[in-house]
Symmetry: C2
Subunit: 387 residues, 2 copies
């Protein structure tokens, strides 16, 4: 691969903040291309930390551990957008970091994130920063109920989101998010009556070269992504439109790396920006098998400023279904044998030590000449897993 800038006899070492499944799959892509990998995480035996000797498991809040991690890396990326941008700034004093602290700071606050998109001319549902219950209520009264109340920072998989149908819901959300030891800044958004949720992965390197992946449909249950369909079963013009929106979003924040852009398709076939993740995204796991270059490979290429790989699909359809924990306890399933009997499906297990109900423990991807066949293969394989 490229030589390390700091240890000329070594290959370039990619450092990843976080050691979960996104880091693991990025590391697998990096190894394939001949890079070395360093991981920093607040735990021992993280899924990605197991895969390297450069495993800094005291986490990035330990100044000395962070310093050791940084010394081991040539280029640093992240799998988790909740990291304090001041940590990224500290790393930037010594190393290249992508996405940059500026991009992460902007994205981390969903209010400034949405403002940036709106400024760039991207369609979004109306939104407002709310400094009081009255402002939440006023937004609901003006825009019409329900509204969606969100913490501006640190929300994921539905944590930090609440739909308010009436004034009393605003009061209870306020109490929940504000009257706590660490009160959260809030925002409110119009409730979007969407017909589908869409997501598009975009890779962008430091020279501004971009690769846009197919438009997917994501299916959530209780705010957690359960499956992804590629390409989304919608008209091609809408797929293209979603890809254009996603690309514009990444350019609006000068993003370098890989980004997952979530959008709503409305009843009137409008595409509204919802959220952007500055990292490989669950909606792009299908790309490992389905595309010439996966989102993880292109993450590595993008942050190392290498030319990007093709996002073309090998077959007509691909489906990814998450394996969600069905128990609290050991992270090792009781049996994967029946899943593996589905010889056409690809099983990914993240190697998390502990399972929790609803926790993302792995996923299955299947390809097919069309989406329908791919989905049925993947679903059958996931349903055969025994916890």
């Amino acid at each position: 691969m490229l030589p390390s800038l700091y240890h000329p006899d070594r290959a370039l070492t990619l450092g990843i903040l976080g050691g979960g499944q996104l880091a693991k799959m990025t590391a697998l892509a990096a190894y394939r291309m001949g890079l070395q990998v360093a991981i920093i995480e607040h735990a021992e035996q993280s899924p990605a930390g197991c895969m390297t000797k450069f495993d800094f498991n005291k986490g990035w809040n330990d100044v000395e551990e962070l310093d050791r991690f940084v010394s081991a890396c040539d280029v640093v990326t992240l799998e988790n957008e909740f990291i304090d941008p001041t940590i990224l700034e500290r790393i930037e004093e010594r190393r290249l970091v992508f996405p940059s602290s500026a991009t992460v700071a902007l994205v981390q606050d969903k209010y400034t994130q949405k403002q940036s998109m709106q400024k760039a001319g991207i369609a979004v549902a109306d939104f407002v920063a709310a400094a009081s219950v009255d402002e939440l209520v006023a937004f609901g009264e003006t825009k019409g109920w329900p509204i969606v109340i969100k913490t501006r920072k640190f929300g994921y998989d539905g944590y930090g989101n609440q739909t308010a149908y009436r004034i009393s819901d605003c009061q209870s959300a306020w109490a929940k998010f504000r009257n706590t030891e660490s009160p959260r800044d809030l925002m409110a958004e119009e409730f979007v009556r969407f017909t589908k949720e869409l997501a598009v992965i975009v890779a962008r390197n430091r020279r501004g070269e971009v690769v846009v992946y197919p438009c997917t449909q994501t299916i959530q249950q209780q705010h957690i992504c359960v499956s992804v369909l590629a390409p989304a079963p919608i008209e091609e013009t809408l797929q293209k439109k979603a890809q254009e929106v996603a690309l514009a979003c990444v350019e609006a924040i000068n993003g370098v790396g890989v980004f997952g852009v979530e959008m709503f398709l409305t009843e009137s076939d409008e595409i509204l920006f919802n959220e952007i993740a500055p990292r490989p995204h669950n909606s792009g796991h299908y790309t490992i098998e389905a595309c010439v270059a996966s989102q993880f490979e292109n993450c590595v290429r993008a942050v190392c400023n290498l030319p990007l790989g093709s996002s073309a699909m090998h077959q007509g359809g691909a489906a990814m279904i998450n394996i969600l924990g069905e128990r609290n306890g050991s992270g090792i399933p009781d049996s994967v044998v029946d899943t593996l009997r589905h010889a056409d499906a690809s099983l990914h297990l993240y190697g998390k030590k502990d399972s929790r109900v609803g926790r993302k423990m792995g996923h299955v991807t299947a390809l097919g000449p069309d989406l329908n066949q791919a989905f049925h293969k993947a679903r059958a394989a996931v349903e055969a897993l025994i916890w």
Copy 2:
């Protein structure tokens, strides 16, 4: 994945004897499925050893190191058929090893290997064990010149092979292989006037379930594989015949794991067995991108006695071209940028510290609707690499 048999809170650990590119690619497949990986190798910072903390770099001839390695593993496999079967037997006292010491012993000696195939009714070129120059000469005189003289053990990439066109060549081969500090047992084979060299990967698990991959054509230069075409550009009936032969070969030696079977296609469209490797094989690297389950994934599945994944190809054609070292020196190429500009090709670099002229340093795979397109993509990408 499966739980470890010895550390119930851990996932199953696959141990690999050897830390080169085959171990590395097997490890990548194992990690994806949630296993842990242990490596034993006679060197620090081997391509696969870098990817795990269970990296036993004092090698298997160090009894204590071997013991520590074995203790860390649940199931053991190998990337190198030259390992002393007594080492495998020692491991077998404590752990499952696949392929077994019996299979490896049989395969390691090319004479007993060929005998086994002949006994199973598989067509081979005539061969003989030769205990003297006279026996080599007699074989040449009977069968017709030239003949191929081989060391029975430890030959690879043409090392240990010599074509003899006349009596004096037999004498010089004898001198080269026998009159040394460690004289090698020799055999002789009829020279096969082949039109193509074929190879088929076969995976077989402990229950005897098998998966056969497409028949490929391998192209060698100076006895080193330089490229692999899948499927081989030959008639479908011949492809099928080669697959049948390959399967019969693996069953003839009761092989468990993944095997690369090399065959000759003769001028009269006969398929003759040439050699079998009891491990993932260079001719199967294309399966990483081209097939639903790669040879490496099926190696993991087979030795863990799991159901096998499909060998179906995603597209009509695939081509793999090896990246061979062009210098003696650093293993890090001067530039991969121009190679990566070929966005349709997949680059694998093994992360070997040192390059030697002709050493396998990596490979490129490309897929296409047909073989021709795939090959041109892969070749353009490899030619753009700068050493």
